[in-house]
């Protein structure tokens, strides 16, 4: 699944069957090369949903047990939050210091959250090559 197609998808609680929010963005841990949380909007409580609290990542909705799973920045991932750690639109630098392009989209596994690939105009970079995501660039190992 791609970030672009999943963004805006509704979050539904399995206990109340109500829509509790919408996907606004993704929090990626470059060390684990995986999506570790989802940034939400239109929620009642906070705006972060940990990946581990997701019941199902479906084609039409993402389900959670309870709206309470969406909280203010939980401990442990606050260092990964914010625009500085977003991937989309950021320049891609190889660890040799060469710019490869800009991140157009990110493909991830909806089961595990693992980043499978970074898409950019000139092609695709395997998610396993991801080293770091910072305010200036997404750093990947050379191909």
């Amino acid at each position: 699944m791609r970030f672009s197609e999943a963004t805006g998808r509704k979050l539904v609680s399995t206990t109340s069957a109500e829509t509790v929010g919408k996907i606004d963005g993704f929090v990626v841990d470059p060390q684990r090369r995986a999506v570790v949380a989802i940034e939400c909007k239109k929620t009642d409580s906070g705006d972060i949903l940990l990946w581990s609290d997701i019941v199902g990542f479906g084609a039409d909705a993402v389900t959670v047990n309870d709206a309470g799973a969406i909280t203010e920045a939980p401990a442990g991932i606050d260092a990964l939050l914010g625009k500085d750690h977003h991937l989309l639109g950021k320049r891609i630098l190889s660890s040799t210091g060469d710019e490869l392009g800009k991140v157009g989209d990110v493909e991830f596994d909806p089961e595990s959250g693992v980043v499978k690939a970074l898409n950019f105009a000139e092609g695709q970079i395997a998610g396993a090559r991801l080293i770091g995501v910072g305010s200036y660039a997404v750093v990947v190992t050379p191909g």
Binding site: D84, L93, S95, E99, V133, G134, S135, Y136, A137, V139
Partner: protein
């Protein structure tokens, strides 16, 4: 894999950590080993919230020097700008600026004025970053007065800040562009070693 670069291109190139943060940018290239190698970089801060502006980066701490960024492991490898100058001086750096000095052959012919330094970057974590040539504004002696040409350097050379001494043969190995320059440098150094 090695590649050639002009040091003037390095100016303002960002210094980026493997975590993707641009922590500084290159202000100046510091040469070591009598001008024969890059000893490190003097850095300037980046942007409005730039940190300490007076810092340096020794060549040994550079993970890679690419065409778009200088890669380092993390911010902890940055030192003071003095540390770079000290480290370079310790290895025999003159500290003098070669830009603008006159390239003289050992036979006393003025080849032109130095306007840029060409360095050779080895693959990732290259052991050394050699200065392999100079770009000079050619004098009459080269027959292409006023144009910029690339001239290879021997392994070791003498430079005073005013003059740069080159073997007379250097003018037979002049290149017009970087593409063929690597081969010209090799041929030149080969030629020198045979002459000894």
């Amino acid at each position: 894999m090695s590649r050639l670069m002009r040091t003037s291109e390095l100016h303002k190139r960002p210094v980026v950590t493997m975590g993707g943060e641009d922590v500084a940018q290159i202000k100046d290239v510091v040469f070591a080993a009598g001008g024969g190698a890059v000893g490190g970089f003097a850095l300037a801060g980046r942007g409005l919230f730039s940190g300490p502006s007076d810092c340096g980066l020794v060549w040994g701490a550079v993970a890679a020097l690419g065409s778009d960024a200088v890669m380092i492991d993390d911010e902890s490898v940055l030192g003071s700008s003095e540390s770079v100058l000290d480290a370079s001086a310790g290895s025999g750096g003159s500290g003098g600026d070669v830009m603008g000095s006159q390239a003289l052959t050992d036979s006393g012919v003025d080849l032109g004025k130095v306007v840029d330094v060409i360095i050779e970057v080895q693959g990732p974590r290259g052991s050394q970053c050699d200065a392999i040539g100079y770009e000079i504004e050619a004098s009459e002696a080269l027959g292409t007065k006023g144009t910029r040409v690339l001239i290879p350097l021997p392994d070791t050379l003498a430079a005073s800040g005013d003059h740069l001494m080159l073997p007379a043969a250097a003018k037979d190995f002049v290149s017009q562009d970087l593409a063929g320059f690597g081969a010209a440098v090799e041929a030149f150094r080969e030629h020198l070693s045979q002459g000894r």
